[in-house]
């Protein structure tokens, strides 16, 4: 396919802009920053442009076109009505809330922030929530800063943060960014943090332990209450990474188990756009003891039922502009309100049922290193196929040819030839069955016609990419 620049024809344009009848000015810009030649934009008609991007989008792969069981990412379908809901607020500028008397004009949006914080607090069992963090990892960073502020206020300089080796890479990264040293605990044979090693690592220099539950293997850790108890005994706090909260909605509340700080990924659990598809949001919830350190400002409900914006001077400061990614919060508020308690419970039940169905149907064909009931995702290994020279990556590429987005491969790192499948709750049994059929077909190909897997993909605009060369000879500049 041609680039839009290659379609450019000198002088062609989509719109005719009237000749300016006001004098040109340089606006006081320094000469070094001024452009003296026209910008090198492609010159195309409106129709050229529409065709170009429409055809590009047809080569895109998305949840709107195909099944997308990318483990750990929760690529579920988001109802389009939430886009309409978010659009209702598009004309409202957040600075209005901060102008003198402005609060009166934006009672609706302020009440939405306040209500969403109450909803998230209720769902997670926390006492307060801030919606400011702009993504999951930003929520982690904020959470760890709250923990640091908590210890500092008690005159303590603790050095370490404990993470299990199965944790998301952002956990140790967030803790290190906040100035902590990382202690990594290995995984026990039952698939989660080794409790004895954890107990041995816990002491009065540990600021916090960060847990993801269910973890990246899709397993629910039966010892989380004990893990929290051990931490609290040593004066450490407990951090719950809510990346996999969609597996336990309405079933377990991290606050009830003993977690002090939690972040939730609205885009994973509460049906808002994903990654490059839209801005993220990673609200952070805390237990009462950490409320003083929450970011400023806070939306509060006054005795007369109206909403106001109040400074929160003892806190860690601002972590984002205004109240966070408000458009995303509208979608999450809509999602939670629409589904209600019963609906959210059904979400997690369906997510777990779908993952267990896939696991049960595929465990004959693929190795299952941790063979137990899973939560929202399951992790297979292509170790059996690797003995025949077929690797997880070959199976992944074959799935593309058959119309499925590959599962996550080679993650988590503690499983060889990992194939991590997360079907999510929005997929039907018919979709799961066709995916299962193709996975079984791939396992048969590995035995009978391995070259078919090695050659895949053949239906895509470009064939198998040389990932090694792309990484070694990295070129990110347009020329």
């Amino acid at each position: 396919m041609e680039l839009i620049y290659e379609k450019s024809v000198p002088g062609r344009t989509g719109v005719r802009i009237p000749v300016a009848d006001i004098p040109r000015t340089t606006g006081g810009f320094p000469a070094g920053l001024r452009r003296f030649e026209p910008a090198a934009f492609p010159e195309v008609s409106e129709l050229d442009l529409v065709r170009h991007y429409t055809n590009l989008s047809r080569r895109n792969f998305s949840v709107d076109t195909n099944f997308y069981p990318l483990g750990s990412c929760t690529m579920k379908y988001n109802a389009k009505v939430m886009e309409n809901a978010a659009a209702l607020f598009a004309g409202c500028h957040p600075v209005v809330a901060l102008l003198p008397g402005g609060e009166k004009l934006v009672q609706g949006p302020l009440s939405l922030v306040w209500e969403l914080e109450r909803q998230l607090a209720e769902i997670t069992g926390m006492d307060e929530v801030t919606t400011q963090p702009l993504a999951g990892a930003h929520g982690e960073m904020t959470g760890i800063m709250l923990i640091a502020a908590y210890h500092k206020a008690r005159g303590q300089k603790r050095k370490y943060v404990i993470v299990p080796d199965s944790s998301h890479g952002t956990n140790p990264a967030s803790a290190a960014m906040a100035g902590y040293e990382i202690v990594t605990i290995p995984t026990a044979p039952y698939g989660d943090m080794d409790l004895d090693a954890y107990r041995a690592a816990m002491n009065d220099q540990v600021a916090a332990v960060m847990m993801t539950c269910p973890n990246t293997l899709g397993l629910f850790n039966p010892y989380i209450a004990e893990i929290c108890r051990i931490a609290h005994e040593a004066g450490a706090l407990t951090y719950y990474d809510g990346a996999n909260l969609n597996a336990i909605l309405g079933k377990v509340r991290p606050g009830d188990v003993g977690f002090d700080v939690i972040h939730v990924n609205l885009h994973k659990t509460f049906g808002t756009p994903h990654g490059g598809g839209g801005p993220g949001s990673g609200p952070v919830g805390v237990r009462a003891g950490l409320i003083p350190y929450l970011p400023t400002p806070r939306v509060v409900k006054k005795d007369d039922g109206s909403f106001a914006v109040e400074a929160h001077p003892e806190g860690i400061g601002r972590v984002s502009d205004f109240f966070g990614n408000f458009g995303i919060m509208v979608r999450a508020f809509g999602y939670i309100t629409l589904l209600g308690r019963e609906g959210l419970i059904e979400v997690s039940e369906q997510a777990v049922l779908n993952a267990n169905y896939l696991m049960a149907r595929l465990k004959e064909e693929y190795d299952l290193p941790f063979d137990q009931t899973c939560m929202h995702e399951c992790v297979f290994s292509a170790a059996r196929q690797a003995k025949e020279g077929i690797h997880a990556i070959d199976i992944a590429k074959y799935l593309i040819d058959r119309g499925f987005h590959p599962p996550t491969v080679y993650f988590p790192l503690n499983v060889k030839e990992a194939i991590m499948i997360e079907p999510t709750e929005t997929e039907s049994k018919q979709t799961l069955d066709s995916f299962i059929a193709v996975m079984i077909e791939a396992a048969r190909c590995a035995k009978e016609s391995p070259q078919e897997l090695k050659d895949a993909p053949i239906t895509t605009p470009v064939g198998r990419l040389d990932e090694t060369r792309a990484a070694r000879a990295l070129q990110v500049c347009c020329e």
Binding site: Y410, L413, T468, A471, R472
Partner: protein, 124 residues
Amino acid sequence: MAKHYTREHEWVSVSGTVATVGISDHAAHELGDITFVELPQAGKSVKQFDILAAIESVKAASDIYSPLSGKVIEVNSRLDDAPELVNQSAEDAGWICKLEASDLGEVGALMDEAAYQEFVQGLV
């Protein structure tokens, strides 16, 4: 001196007080095609089993831990342009860095080649 290995798959070979460090053939094979080695700064001091460097492959990014305590005196800068050396020759031309070792007694906490081979067998 013969090579010694860590449980995290680094090797070290000591000559006088200079310790040459790399990752094992087994580790290089498991990582797959190496795409980048983040070499340590010369002059950096490390304690035994602290993070020394990092290595990236098409599959994963991993830390490299120091088999011994000491100070980095030389790095294998050929790896900047040719990280594939680690795949081709992990335990020779693909060495990562050299340390001025501060306590050779620490070798006692490492495995010799036979013990390491047995350790690796046990992982499969």
